[in-house]
């Protein structure tokens, strides 16, 4: 059951990411891809069966945070702000995949954008853009243990 790949371990230590059943597909160099399997518990509109915006936000926020953490030198991060645009509703019953990219970073702030797709991989149904705090590792001075 438990995926032991190092990337997946990143998700396993975040209790809420685990609760959402997130799977980390790719991570590195300020980019991350995470998917969330369909789960009836995440329905936000019982009449249509469409997923709750909040569940999509949680996936996008996690994916953006993962992208920042994978930025070279990043040590820790927290969300400053996140804006999500819902272009259409996601199709009920489908897995949702988020892709995030940290497109610029200063010493203390990372700027990230992300998209969310259902199984129609052509058109994202939602996009996000956010600013994240970023603590950098101190520049290596002496011979210290590997990170």
């Amino acid at each position: 059951m438990i995926d032991v790949s190092p990337a997946q371990r990143f998700i396993e230590v975040i209790p809420h990411a685990k609760a959402l059943g997130l799977h980390l597909v790719e991570i590195g160099d300020g980019k991350a891809v995470i998917y969330m399997p369909w789960d009836d518990r995440f329905i936000g509109d019982p009449l249509t069966g469409v997923i709750a915006g909040g569940a999509v936000s949680a996936l996008l926020d996690t994916c953006c945070g993962a992208a920042v953490m994978s930025y070279p030198g990043a040590k820790s991060t927290a969300t400053l702000d996140l804006r999500i645009d819902y272009m259409r509703t996601a199709k009920p019953g489908q897995r949702i995949t988020a892709r995030a990219e940290c497109f610029h970073a200063t010493r203390s702030v990372a700027f990230v954008r992300a998209t969310a797709h259902d199984e129609d991989t052509d058109q994202p149904f939602a996009t996000a853009q956010g600013a994240f705090t970023m603590d950098m590792m101190p520049k290596p001075t002496k011979t210290e243990g590997a990170a």
Binding site: I14, P15, H16, G44, I51, G53, A55, S57, A58, L82
Partner: protein, 173 residues
């Protein structure tokens, strides 16, 4: 002319509480996060009891930013739905007794949602209240604030725009 005697307050309250319960209780994701709503007249306060599965940073036991965002969005959307229902109930266009699990109003759709994270969410219960700043025929703008121990110390706030569904609950698009 004799006015009919007003209904006992307890009956009106129970009817309104049941209408709210029917609106909120049928949403699986609200139950997944454990969000509850407290009603005082037309004012709603959302409550998010702390739970280990809401944590985003295991070292700090901080609430996940995505949970915070979801909590705010749920609060904004329920406040908007409730404010529309409330108006319809008060002016007699909607009988709250008819608002059962099979006759739920259509929920607003989120157009965009922007969350401002002010402090990290501590491992405690969180509260939120939303304010509908503008509600037109089709679009609404809603602001929402969340706090934990102290009402004036917000840990997050958000503004969202929503598409308002047709007001007739039986209307089909």
């Amino acid at each position: 002319m004799n006015r009919p005697a007003p209904e006992p307050v307890q009956i009106i309250k129970e009817r309104r509480d049941r209408a709210l319960q029917n609106l909120v209780g049928g949403i699986p994701y609200v139950n997944f996060l454990g969000i509850q709503f407290d009603r005082r007249g037309d004012e709603l306060t959302a409550l998010l009891p702390f739970d280990d599965q809401l944590v985003g940073n295991p070292l700090l036991q901080a609430i996940h930013g995505g949970v915070t965002s979801a909590f705010l969005e749920v609060t904004a959307m329920i406040e908007l739905s409730w404010s529309i229902l409330w108006e319809d109930m008060e002016n007699g266009n909607l009988d709250p007794r008819k608002l059962d699990a099979d006759h739920l109003p259509r929920l607003p759709k989120t157009i965009d949602f922007t969350v401002d994270y002010l402090r990290s969410g501590l491992p405690r219960d969180a509260y939120a209240r939303a304010r509908v700043n503008r509600s037109g025929r089709r679009y609404a703008s809603v602001h929402v604030e969340a706090w934990q121990d102290k009402r004036s110390r917000l840990f997050a706030q958000a503004t969202g725009h929503f598409l308002i569904p047709g007001r007739d609950t039986t209307e089909v698009e």
